[in-house]
Symmetry: C2
Subunit: 247 residues, 2 copies
């Protein structure tokens, strides 16, 4: 009666709070040690070690040994994508995080999703690239000729990206915006460009903090209008039963 791969084992893996927190901590693409992940999850070292063994067995994370440390990272961008999508479900599901503090606002504005830019600015970026005809197509979001010129000038080694097995362009569903932002090798390259140019820096959470000048430069480079003012949190339109058919 069942069809396709069995989702239950994987979902159960993501369903434990400790493991979920560890994975969330890895969502920025960095590799973390067991101790760091234990702290992120709020469990002791042995417990974390056990969880990580399971995640590794399921190939959701990959480990690398360096000296007496073991560094864990997500095994691929697709894991990050599923996590983002689950956050989307979790949000509309009513499991709204009440803590809409300044940190949350920062995350909604611009954050690192695995290795590319997400959040409001991330979505705006993809919009802008399309509007200018730099990126087109729907499946793998192919680069146009103009886009190739543009990004070459931006300093991206397209030839190298295209040799890899990872798609150059790929849409990734954004939990806060509920729209696509740009992932893939190009998405990663753009984020690298942002950091290299010191337009912004990654803080200890997943938020990406732009400098004022950097934000202006970023918007200018990609032809984006500045970020709209965020509406007052707590004044959500759907208070008790948000009967939104979201997609």
């Amino acid at each position: 009666m069942k069809e396709g791969p069995a989702i239950a084992p994987v979902a159960a893996l993501l369903g434990d709070p400790a493991r979920a927190n560890m994975l969330a901590a890895l969502m920025d693409g960095r590799a973390l040690t067991v101790s760091e992940l234990a702290q992120a999850a709020g469990v002791t070292l042995p417990t974390a070690s056990g969880h990580l063994a399971k995640l590794e067995a399921a190939r959701l994370v990959a480990a690398e040994k360096q000296g007496r440390h073991r560094y864990f990272r997500l095994s691929g961008p697709d894991v990050a994508q599923v996590l983002e999508a689950l956050m989307g479900l979790a949000q509309r599901t009513g499991a709204v995080r009440v803590r809409t503090g300044p940190k949350d606002a920062a995350l909604r504005s611009a954050r690192v999703c695995y290795d590319h830019l997400a959040g409001e600015r991330g979505v705006a970026l993809l919009d802008g690239l399309e509007r200018q005809g730099l990126v087109a197509g729907g499946d793998d979001l192919a680069l146009t000729d103009q886009g190739r010129d543009f990004f070459t000038r931006f300093g991206v080694d397209l030839a190298r990206l295209e040799k890899g097995r990872r798609p150059v362009c790929r849409g990734c569903l954004d939990w806060s915006e509920r729209r696509l932002h740009l992932g893939g090798a190009l998405g990663a390259a753009i984020l690298s460009g942002i950091v290299e140019r010191r337009w912004g820096r990654r803080d200890e959470s997943r938020a990406l903090v732009f400098t004022p000048d950097g934000l202006e430069a970023f918007n200018g480079t990609f032809g984006l209008s500045p970020e709209p003012p965020t509406e007052q949190p707590g004044a959500e339109p759907a208070p008790a039963a948000p009967r939104i058919r979201v997609l």
Copy 2:
């Protein structure tokens, strides 16, 4: 330390085999009764009732009462999308379903994902639409002017679709092909068109069975090359440890 919505509760919901099976049974977009879902999950009626109550509380499914039956359906296409994405992870994770029987082959070839066409033919469809310039853009996969003409001739009431809050075009990640197929209101309309024209019918599983004539008509209408012969199952390139960095 946590950021964004908490995924663990939702994921835990999907992590129980009984619930996962029920959701999988609902993946074709149909509404099923509690008894049917209980059978699909292989549990007794009280157990199923309890599970469904939880899923409903989490707004993953929605219920509708008709007479003395209660019909459950997925609460939206986004739920189906997350399920498809999880299947993708489950597959590469090593939880490969060994039962690569004829039914599985049929599912890979063409199946119903919530309310639109998925599988090899679904991916080919999106490819074809793009190649012919009927669909373009990357975010919401907008229809081109030619596309509007085309689908109007195909019998789709675009004005009606665009009035709804659901996006007309939307990519949905395919677990068997690991590429996007076309979802959204237009995806649903195309599937309706296929069924109305008797090009194929939905069997009791999620497989979509084309008639020989219907398949030819489908390929012809959307300018697709016929489906490539499926390679021998069991002759997978990655036997023990598929170390594929998939995305």
